[in-house]
């Protein structure tokens, strides 16, 4: 099964953000969405989840289901969206935060079946010891796992992760990415993750799509897509690409030199 996005356009009023984005994401695959700030990564995800309404374009799941024809509730049973952080001003138990994922499935109040799904997600993510606590008391990494558990309780076929590692330290970044990849395989979802770190994307994503100014520049395996020329073209920095531990590593080259140049300039002054 495949999610196929064709000729997606979106803008805020006259300001165009996406200019005909074409993408595919396959079941059981983690697709990394990379690109500089403002390239449209989050906007693509928000258009798929209908948080934003596209100007034009089509979304097909399994070649037959047109996502744009589904009601918002039907869409939410198919597509789950994981935001960057939990943003809640009220005390809320972990279990109640996760049952929010069942909102598109129940009418009025959660049923026993809904709570079964919640408990399965809690078990799957090892959140048992946190169940009695409020989400406002959790660390960034724990809160991120609650968000992922909520999306699993939603029983989606398509999982969208919107820069889930941006607010986390390196330990939780790696843990979250490992979780994202494991879930993609275990729950057999088509997953798309917006992410900044090129080496981490290369390590955990099956394929990578590069976005720039609302266009898809390249799509392919990390080895094919992550080239020094392309990164220089997109980000305006020089990098070295090395292959280590079976993965592509992107090492910025200009930083130490700049530091030396700055030191020299300071000394001269």
């Amino acid at each position: 099964m495949t999610l196929r996005i064709t000729d997606l356009h979106f803008g805020y009023g006259r300001r165009k953000i996406l200019h005909g984005v074409d993408l595919t994401a396959h079941k059981g695959e983690l697709l990394g969405l990379l690109g500089p700030n403002g390239s449209g990564k989050s906007t693509v995800l928000k258009n798929i989840a209908r948080i934003h309404t596209p100007t034009s374009g089509s979304f097909r799941w399994d070649e037959t289901v047109a996502l744009e024809d589904l009601s918002r509730r039907e869409l939410a049973r198919l597509v789950a969206y994981v935001p960057q952080t939990i943003d809640v001003s009220f005390e809320l138990d972990v279990r109640e935060a996760i049952v929010l994922g069942r909102t598109p499935h129940f009418a009025g109040r959660p049923t026993a079946e809904d709570w079964d799904h919640v408990d399965r997600a809690i078990e799957l993510l090892g959140l048992g010891p946190l169940v009695g606590r409020s989400v406002t008391e959790l660390s960034g990494g724990q809160a991120q796992r609650v968000l992922i558990a909520r999306s699993l309780a939603q029983q989606p076929s398509i999982l969208l992760l919107d820069e889930p590692t941006s607010a986390l330290d390196i330990k939780y970044q790696l843990q979250t990415l490992r979780l994202a990849r494991q879930i993609t395989r275990t729950a057999q979802v088509a997953a798309i993750i917006a992410i900044h770190d090129l080496s981490q994307a290369a390590r955990y994503c099956d394929r990578i799509a590069f976005l720039q100014d609302g266009h898809v520049l390249a799509v392919g395996t990390p080895e094919d897509v992550l080239t020094a020329e392309r990164i220089e073209q997109m980000y305006g920095i020089e990098v070295s690409i090395i292959h280590a531990n079976g993965s592509v590593q992107v090492i910025p080259r200009d930083e130490p030199d700049s530091a030396v140049a700055l030191e020299a300039a300071t000394a001269a002054a």
Binding site: E74, E96, A97, L100, T103
Partner: protein, 383 residues
Amino acid sequence: MTEVLETPDARKQPDAVTELTGGGRLRSAATGFRAFTRTDTGRRIVIGSGVLITLVVSVWALSFGGNAIGIGDALAALRAKLTFSPAADSATARLYLQVWELRVPRVLLSLVAGAALATAGVLFQGLLRNPLVSPYTLGIAPAAAFGASYAIVFIGAETGGLSSSAWVVVGALTVSIVSSVFVLALAATKRSDPSTLILLGIAVTQFFTAATSALQFTADQETLALIVQWTWGSVNGALWSQVLIVSALFFAVYPLVQRKSGSLNAIAFAGDDAAKSLGVPVTSTRLSLIGLAVVLTAVTISFTGIIGFVGLVAPHIARLLIGSNHRFLLPFSAIIGGLLLVVADSVGRTVLNPAVIPVGIVDALIGAPVFLYLILAKRRATS
């Protein structure tokens, strides 16, 4: 999907209370109570207890007032009126009349006004994702105050078949509804996010506060006293007709609100973007529920004047006791709101007897310390 995914820090247990000293026992009891009141059964028991306490306090409240009577007399008067039994003598008939025509409407209006304002408070706080907002956030109170003041200053005595007090109600209701419709229409056509709504509310508040001040500035002493008295908020002189109107509205609106508790949870706890991705039509849900909260608030305060604190504090007290899930928070806040106003009005009728302190003043005087105590007790229990 039964395999447990790799999650290293999930093994960290929350700190257990190991040392059962005095403080330890208190913390342990608080933790146990909290855990119990976060289960569906625990919440049902707390809500049931709240209903019972409110009923008992409400009946007890019938005995308070300028002419204090025993609770037995109050119950006898109630029984006689409900069973259409005649009074034995003229003194008893006067007593029955006093209970049935003065005290019962007053207690019932306190109950239903408190419930309505607390429900509106929960809706505003949840929909705007802000625990600091109240039913008056969109500027309803100053708008109603302007409408009432206008009626007091310019209509005054009986006009067009309506009494002066009826014109005050009409004025307060009309201006508060019109100003709220204006704010919601602006939000619907431009932006309906929480900060835009709060900012629009601030603008409306400033406008109507200035307009009311202008009226007060030009009013004579007697008219000024009437305006100020209205803004204190009171159930003095409550009528059965007022009880029926506010109750009918509350019981018509409340089921609609309760049915949306799932969507309200999603908006309040997940945020606009995630709530949309959970299948909730955020803009229409927010504007329609705020519309219902506005109607509840506007109609209630048109009859009672501005009762300020209950809509802010009742949801907080309820939240501290049973958590934030709106399925339970909505009914429990309504109960707490009703209870708060009945207690406040009873105190207001008693402490400076025969003078009656308006319920809006007593409500804040009692509610603020209770609120502070609960907040501090909660901090102590969780620290």
